[in-house]
Amino acid sequence: MTRTIHLSLDINGRRYDLDVEPRVTLLDALREHLALTGTKKGCDQGQCGACTCHVDGSRVLSCLTLAAQVEGRQITTIEGIAAENGELHPVQAAFVEHDAFQCGYCTPGQIMSAVACIREGHAGSDEEIREYMSGNLCRCGAYNSIVAAVREAAEMA
């Protein structure tokens, strides 16, 4: 396959134009074509959650989403959630304060999931947070701190 298609993507409120093969995933478009490498590739199979982004405000696995599918929709990545002045999003700040990561590789996906989890109204209790954050694996084992961070950010929201 050598055919490329032209895409115009709305990512973090900015327009990005790119020419890619139709089979390129949103994840690879971000990482390999747009230098937006904050979104991580952990499995490329929809199993680990490291590639979690928002499309029109809902969490999606960008490794299972073709870039061509999200044209005309609003994509948000980890690079797009802090304030313009650089001030961290409350979930980001809570992750730092609670030490909710070690190696940091699952962290962007965890944070994107957490932001949506709170917005969905699924951060009402520790049990609920654990359940609704279980699509995001963390091999370093920061789960206790992730729950604490999400709880704190949810209370502030």
């Binding site: 980890i78 980001q92 304060e97 030490d99 279980s134 206790n144």
Partner: protein
Amino acid sequence: MTIMEPRKHGDASDGTVGGRQTRFEGNLKVTGGATYALEYPVEGLAYAILVQSTIPAGRVVRVDTEKALAAPGVLMVLTPDDDLGLLVASDWGGNRPDNQPYYPLPRQVQYNGQSIAAVVAESREQAVEAANLICITYEKAPHVATFNDAAAGEGKVMDNLTSGWGDAEAALAAAPVQIEGEYSTPREYHVAMEPHGLTVKWDGDRITVWEPSQWSHGMARSYSEWFGIPYENVHLVSPFIGGGFGSKGAALAHGAVAAFAARKLGRPVKLALTRPQNFTNYGGRAATRQTIKIGATEDGILQAIVHRGASETSTYADWPEQTGSATPILYRIENFSSQHRVVPVNTVTPGALRGPGKNPSAFGIESAMEELAYKLGMDPLELRLKNYADHDYQSGKPWSTRRLREALTEGAEAFGWSKRSHEPRSMRDGKTLIGWGIGCGTFPVIQAPSEAMIRILGNGRVEVVSGAIDMGQGTYTILAQTAAEVFGIPVDQVEVHLGDSRLPGSAIAGGSMLAGSILGAVHKAATAARDELIGLALNDEKSPLRDTGANTLTFSGGRIAAPRDQGPSLTLSELMAALGRDEIEVLRNTLPDGATAQEQHQAWTSMAKVQGPTMGEYSMHSWCAHFAEVRVDEDFGTVRVSRIVSAFDCGRLYNPRLVESQWRGGIIMGIGQALLEEGLVDQRNGRTVNNNMGDYLVPTNADVPHIEVISVGIPDYGASALGGKGVGEVGIVGVAPAIANAVFHATGKRVRDLPITLEKLI
């Protein structure tokens, strides 16, 4: 009891050694700004994909590459027919055979999932498509899938792992109470969130390798030796690494393939292993089995331990997962015998995974101790305290520090162990059976020489420079805290540069040896730099502090002054400006004085200078005691870990906030080991069946309860310059037996083979 005093974050003391400073690189990691190996913008990249064997043993007869080469975008296909012209690199000890060719894509197939071909194309998608078009013809040979196959045999005894004293067999036979059990653990995998892979670029005979690494210098050495180029020509870059757990300490075949392809194509190459390839391109923890026999008196005094263990290894290298390594040192034991075998099978050579050796070893002895406790009708806590080891019976040496008794008693107190009812199946909540269990753990103190550079800049900032790695343990943070303390400045006045083979050499981020080793070097360099600055400030005629008449200076609150308020106080930048200095740079290492350049190179790039736990006067180890509560559904056999309290003796903690995270991480990996993790092998073809994160189960958030961790350690200045013992490995050791023991207490069923899945309970 504890040196982990609760302190509100934000106190000035957070920034000194022992403070709860938040993660130094935290903002980069939560914003996506931390750049991992495959994320460097490199112009003109080509993409490589590996093709792996589909048979477990035999020979590659022919690789049909015609279709792949004709596929769009394909630049190159490499097969066993290509002579890459590489030489075998040194092993861990720094030993290297002379002029032995190295074949990263071998003709001889030794396991299913071995890399035997590679495709390089303009895009990753094109490379993947072309890889699917490669057709390989094999000549199959008989294989051994696992060490449970009849054809595997008994394996070979590892003489260096055979140990014993007293007369264990006779003492066992004479003991009035005896127990015997066989314990086994399956293949387990690292499953670091960041898959292995690299980007590599040549400039003439110089190579830059962006690759996740637990040891920048050691891996750089492999590249230099494979390609026959000077060590200085290799630049390995790894400032952030997405988890390693033992898997990223050595350069691997795929690195050699990518580097060769890049050189031959004359353009940079990126090679990422797919998640399934991460299960066979390097080894996880070997499967183990062990029998333990314990003899004791009727009042529970141990008389003898006889241990016989075995672990799988590959057909081409001996990697022992030492099942007898915790067995001899946890308890007072006068008669002991242990032997370990390795059994070659058709697998990739296993490797180090969190708590290597000690982990499966502790599963055996800590399960057996509780079996003995139930046979005696004795509280398992009492049995452990009754047999407390006053010294190391294996080496005969005194402990440096050993607060395992405090870990057991203070852990029990926090857990509420005294409320336990002894009989199995005696605690329940409706249809849910509740059980409590204990597992002790240990990991040796390992020390390695390290080097660090300190730069005091004219603007008053202090740089710490080291090739050491931060894979999440907190190297950036504790190095910054150390420099901040020495110079009396806030942590945000410090910069830390890590993860680069061109920076000063360091211990590997593995074996829990990095923090103690590198802090020794950083503290030494920082102190020397401060002394140099003091000398200048007291003697240089341009210095405003010269006339104070002081013979030293204090560094506190960001200011430098003579003691007892004599004269002015200056900030670092003011003093540097007064002295007319742009920079003061000091390099120090912890090798003996006068080490030659060759000895230094050997120290940074091999394990030759590493010191084990009993090489000095003392026997030095970290210790822990885990208390687990499980809830088991009586009808369905499902096990949930509902509570864990763990008490640790890891000496002085350099940053309790980060240490607690590491301990919990180890414990959570232990929950996975106890209940979920199991590499499954297809007996017919030696294939790893569950080679992905959906089928090889690791703990999710919902699998993990709140975990309470307690520090009972005291500074151990024999173990390290600043008093800490290892933190990262010990957390997992003893977790699986604590859970298995709790499951027995809940259900009355003793599961001796991990993981404890529901079919074993119903």
